[in-house]
Symmetry: D2
Subunit: 439 residues, 4 copies
């Protein structure tokens, strides 16, 4: 924008100036590359570069125009500089009343942010294992809300109102679908050994002529296993109904992303929904709707009524810029190592306390029986030992996804972003928690 | 928490220390008062005090525990310090999957923030003119989305799916209601002199046994006038149906708040929805659902599926803390003066260019005919003159709220937060814009 | 540096992008102008623009080079991002070991900052009333230290070690001169009516063949009056000795700057030293050495041994950019009004309590007798009433600048940056303080 | 200050509130410990805790008093929030005109900061290897300036003006001593094998009855070796003169700190001066004067004329809080490993290019001959290869510390804060630089 070399002539010695501009250029290079390539960078960015990019783009919004006059009822006015800082200057929000991804003429900068966010979200999902996804849209909504919007798209498209839902005991997706008035037909899971699964034939049976969609799930606490999304994709194709995958925290796992890739290749997958925070280490508040078919993500984006907070958008963009592809893969490697370690450590604890690990497929979490302990007390002990995250369930609690499980259990996660220290400390505290909760 | 007087003994001279702690106490006093009174402060806070409060509260969330171990799939981990800063440390979001206003055990600080936000939102609405409102809930959603949630509450409660809607040509509320599958029966407005109004008898006629609710509107561009919410409230009471008021940017206006107070007193008002940004100078992204009946705001808050971004919540809280009651009243005084000035200035311009002001009740905006000018060109000229916000409509455009209006027109706002300079510059540029668009 | 128009093609609609870049350009315009004109801007800058400029320039320093390798013993490494933030990224300090204003090859950005700082400091002093100053250097040192350096220059140049010093009872300048081993010959002031002045003939007598310089003072608490710098300049010219003016907080006053301009025109002035914080509302820590003769400021700048903190430099630059010429003149107008008001208010208080104002020339402060009150108690009362800044002196205290004054007194300032509210509150509290301290 | 448990009753559920306050307490614990123990923490602090401490303390300064009235000529007023932020709110500077370490009554917070800074500086030096140091004072001045102040103390105390100075070719200390008018008698170094040293007998001979002090040096570029401070300490004791050690970047080295400890035990050491940035990873701008005798650091602190910038003080405090003792020891371990690695890598490069390492004692840097290369070109090549810090000298350049050295050479540092990557890259680029500079 400004030719610094010329402007700064006769200030400091030429060779010092020249070297300084050279360094500045090197700092700005990631931004140039982003604009040019529109992909997630290989190397993560330093915080100061992200901050700079955001400042620069926020200066394209009309509320920054020093000679602009603002005479509308909504002009991104703020009550104090601190309030603006809370939005990093992106005060116009994203979208227009008709479409949340539509560029907002008053806010060129925010619109660019959102453009790059969606581009990079797709790039990230593709490189994370599902190259057959073809469009993505980051929404400033909880995963459950976005599943609701996705279900609404299915409902509008098919003019049917029923969703077949392999049982997952989680309020949010259910509430999301109910909000948009879909009738959810829950199909109970069954126990097979230790695993809790919904058999494909039961799903098949549940489909009626009123069925608009199946909503399957890839990530939940063991012993509930991921749904067989490939089989469900084939079923959906056969039945000509929508297939929405709730991939809440599946992006972190190479194995789960492979399942999704396989499902798309093998049958029908219309929308895949995932959390930004659970997969990409952002503050809670966003989700990504992705699809092998761009028209579906567009339909989802048109469901949102009004302009929305830009905060979850910029938080997600900042997060993936700071990670970069390499950073993300490093985290995934670490996640896999930690999952391994968690199993090893929990097994030792289990043996010591006459419990056993549940034999279930789950690339993120591990579950252990609590047959000989007071389950609720174990949970309470963990909390007072400052361990957050473990879940303790008894045989008929909400959460087991079936009628009755064979024993109480505790689950712990080796989720992306956890450290080896977390795993070691958590399992050693589990040891203590069990000691104090023997029956 | 820490007794500084004792801890800091034998550091600097006693009287200097003492005076220093006295000053610190004076800086902290607004925080103490907020915790004690739980009301909007009389005087607005300085930014540094708000910042400090937020830091302190964010340190109550479990992700800050230096000795905590985090083993869940969702633990507010972030990819870099900058990402955390974008959320001011409130990385857990608000709410639980069952209820967005439910305290989140992992996030005591964010839960407190949300508690105070809702308390202060109600206090603000009451002191802004509607003391008969009895509960409020700030949602991280566009006004249109919240109107949708409100309509869904009406639908669930009445088990009916129809909404009678005095026509307002704005996509968001419509889309919000459609998202939750309410059938919107739009009642066209009629022209009466210059004013565009929906007669109460037409609304009455539109009500059927399928009607769950009427959704009325207090703020829109002239010549559309505010709905007669008092008469509608009586009608709703008579018909035993819900009455939801879209009070999008009405809080800024004492007159409109008086209308709402009157409506509540006279008949039935179940939910009043308003924008945070349009009324309280926050970044776009939030809305407030308020009600004379706490059970309705609670039902609205339970509609949200999942945990949501805390950003719109903290932005709103920061905004009203920085304003204070006095600051807000100063802004309202200024708004009224500016509205007056806008009318005076536009009148002059109109006379000069052989146009006239539309004779319509509207406490925020002013409209002027464009009979002798190329309307679209006037709009374009204003944009290139760096004026954002004016709206130019021709006789049958979406926006007129009736079949056909008698002439094209332009509207401009004297909204809260606008300055006298904005008004003067905008009207002088309008003068220029007209000159270049004579027919 | 980056051609955004081309790089961002096919992102958001062309006209939105275009308008966005137009706004960005408008935000960047002050920076371009600064680089081009190298003068204090007419209009003060917004904080975000100053912040941006600083970030951009700090990215020219070698410690920011992403591919640089740093193998020296001093490479601006910092222990944490917060530490870097405390320096706004200018971690290399200013200067080289030989000369504090010499460009530092490792730090092109900091060197540019310092270049502009000194340019703007001179421009500011010239436009503030002394256009006959021809060079300026901002030093990260207290005014007293810089007076010491200036005296050292006089000592080196003349090869004499004595300074004649019209008595001002302030430790710092004295200590500064003693540090560099100048022998200070203090000439007592005398009382003339209420005024305390050093007669020119006494100064003339004090000069010996050992005298290197006279150090005069323009600003001190009344009843001490500003030295007659014009007469001293003539004396210095006649005697062929240095004349250093301690203009500590004189820049704020148009009248005092006029005196300095007159002194330079009429005789000999070698160096004029002023505080950055007292004149330009920066944090304490800097001073400006200025001269009608560039070689003298250069000699001062070569006195500093080593590289110095960049903090006082960037704080000063930020301050004058945020003020602008217009902002500074507004503050000076306000200072003049406040000085007037202070006199008026104090006079009322004085009459009420049977005291009187001292009849002394001082464009910033006002003094009042404390004949009928316990002076020390008045001082103490003011402190407990939370008034900082007033000085209370008894007849023979250090501070009176002469052998014995005719009565105790209190002085209060209407300094630049004070508000009308400060003046009104301070004098009303003075009223209270006097009541409780009657003899 | 505020009892949150009681104040926040009836907000969120009791157990959530309780846990939240527990986490907050854990975050605040380092601050409590600092206030109580007044020592460098074992574990480094997180940036947010340092930031919080600084905010809290800055709120003790009178300029923050919301009901205070400021009527002095110097009240820490600032022109904009950004300017205040540049000082992190510590706008009063440190010290009083009489003594830079004296508490400033208007600035209790800054005074506390300075109190802790000096306490922790001493603690750090003691634990870094010199427990026989008994007081320390951090000065916002370059090391060279502080050596000047130290020499001035020696001059005043002994009433003599000569300093004997084992030759080190560095401008700053020389200029510092000259500024305070000490006569520097430089004693040339001699070559012994590869090493450049000043023999103790030559120093002994140089001492005259005019000698106030010897100023020795522990850290410089090889082949100049550290002075034998123990022998010099004995000599100083015998001759009853001051001994000032310029320990510029010696704190990082356990071996050098051992030399200092030994010197203090064996003879006379009055003041030890070190850089904050070179040892503790702060931005450039501060130095520490330490002494086995508290009266000497006090005398140094009284030399500064006026109030000074608080910036170098808070930067240093932030740096050591962020490091902690453990963090510092980790850095020192790394420094030692890197020094080792540097030697190994340079040796390889030397052999490849027919040069050899100089056989000299130096725990930080390594030197290599440039007999068969164009020395100046090697230096230039390194610069264009983006390596900063290496020094290239020819036989008679300023820097060799003796009459003539036996060959040209290049030195590179493995200083504290350098990474293994720095060492490897620098030496591999040296390889390239040599290739292109063969004679």
């Amino acid at each position: 924008m400004i030719d610094l070399e010329t402007l700064l002539k006769h200030t400091i010695p030429k060779h010092v100036l020249h070297h300084g501009l050279f360094v500045m250029q090197a700092k700005l290079e990631p931004i140039r590359l982003l604009f040019e390539q529109r992909r997630v960078p290989e190397e993560g960015w330093k915080d100061d570069v992200i901050d700079f990019l955001f400042t620069l783009l926020s200066w394209m919004d009309t509320d920054k125009d020093p000679k602009g006059v603002r005479i509308g009822e909504r002009e991104a006015r703020v009550s104090s500089p601190f309030v603006s800082k809370l939005a990093h200057g992106f005060c116009h929000g994203v979208g227009r009343s008709g479409n949340i991804t539509a560029p907002q003429p008053k806010a060129a900068g925010t619109s660019l942010i959102y453009f790059f966010t969606n581009k990079l979200a797709l790039d990230m999902l593709q490189r994370a294992g599902a190259p057959n996804l073809k469009s993505a849209c980051v929404l400033p909504l909880a995963t459950g809300m976005t599943i609701g919007l996705a279900a609404a798209v299915a409902g509008d498209d098919t003019r049917k109102r029923e969703v077949v839902y392999p049982r997952v005991d989680h309020h949010s997706p259910l509430k999301g679908m109910q909000l948009v008035r879909m009738k959810v037909k829950i199909v109970d899971a069954e126990i097979s050994g230790d695993a809790v699964r919904v058999p494909i034939n039961k799903l098949s049976e549940a489909i009626s002529k009123e069925t608009a969609a199946i909503v399957s799930t890839t990530t939940f606490f063991p012993p509930r296993e991921p749904d067989d999304v490939k089989a469900i994709a084939k079923l959906a194709a056969d039945e000509n109904i929508f297939h929405i995958i709730n991939n809440a925290y599946g992006v972190q796992s190479r194995r789960i992303m492979k399942l999704i890739q396989g499902a798309i290749d093998a049958g029908r997958v219309d929308l895949v929904v995932q959390s930004t925070d659970k997969n990409f280490l952002t503050p809670i508040g966003g989700s990504i709707a992705a699809s092998p078919n761009p028209s579906y993500t567009e339909k989802v984006s048109k469901m949102y009524a009004g302009r929305a907070s830009a905060a979850p958008i910029i938080q997600f963009l900042a997060a993936i810029l700071s990670l970069g592809i390499n950073g993300y893969e490093v985290l995934r490697d670490e996640q896999e190592r930690n999952r391994h370690l968690l199993e090893k450590c929990m097994k030792k604890v289990a043996e010591k306390h006459s419990e056993r690990l549940l034999n279930v497929f789950n690339p993120i979490a591990v579950a252990m029986t609590l047959t000989n302990h007071e389950a609720k007390k174990v949970g309470y002990n963990m909390y007072t030992l400052r361990v957050t995250g473990p879940r303790v369930l008894e045989e008929t609690d909400f959460g087991i996804c079936c009628r009755k499980y064979h024993s109480p259990y505790i689950t712990m996660n080796a989720a992306i972003g956890s450290t080896e220290k977390d795993i070691r400390l958590a399992t050693s505290r589990l040891d203590r928690a069990l000691k104090q909760a023997e029956k």
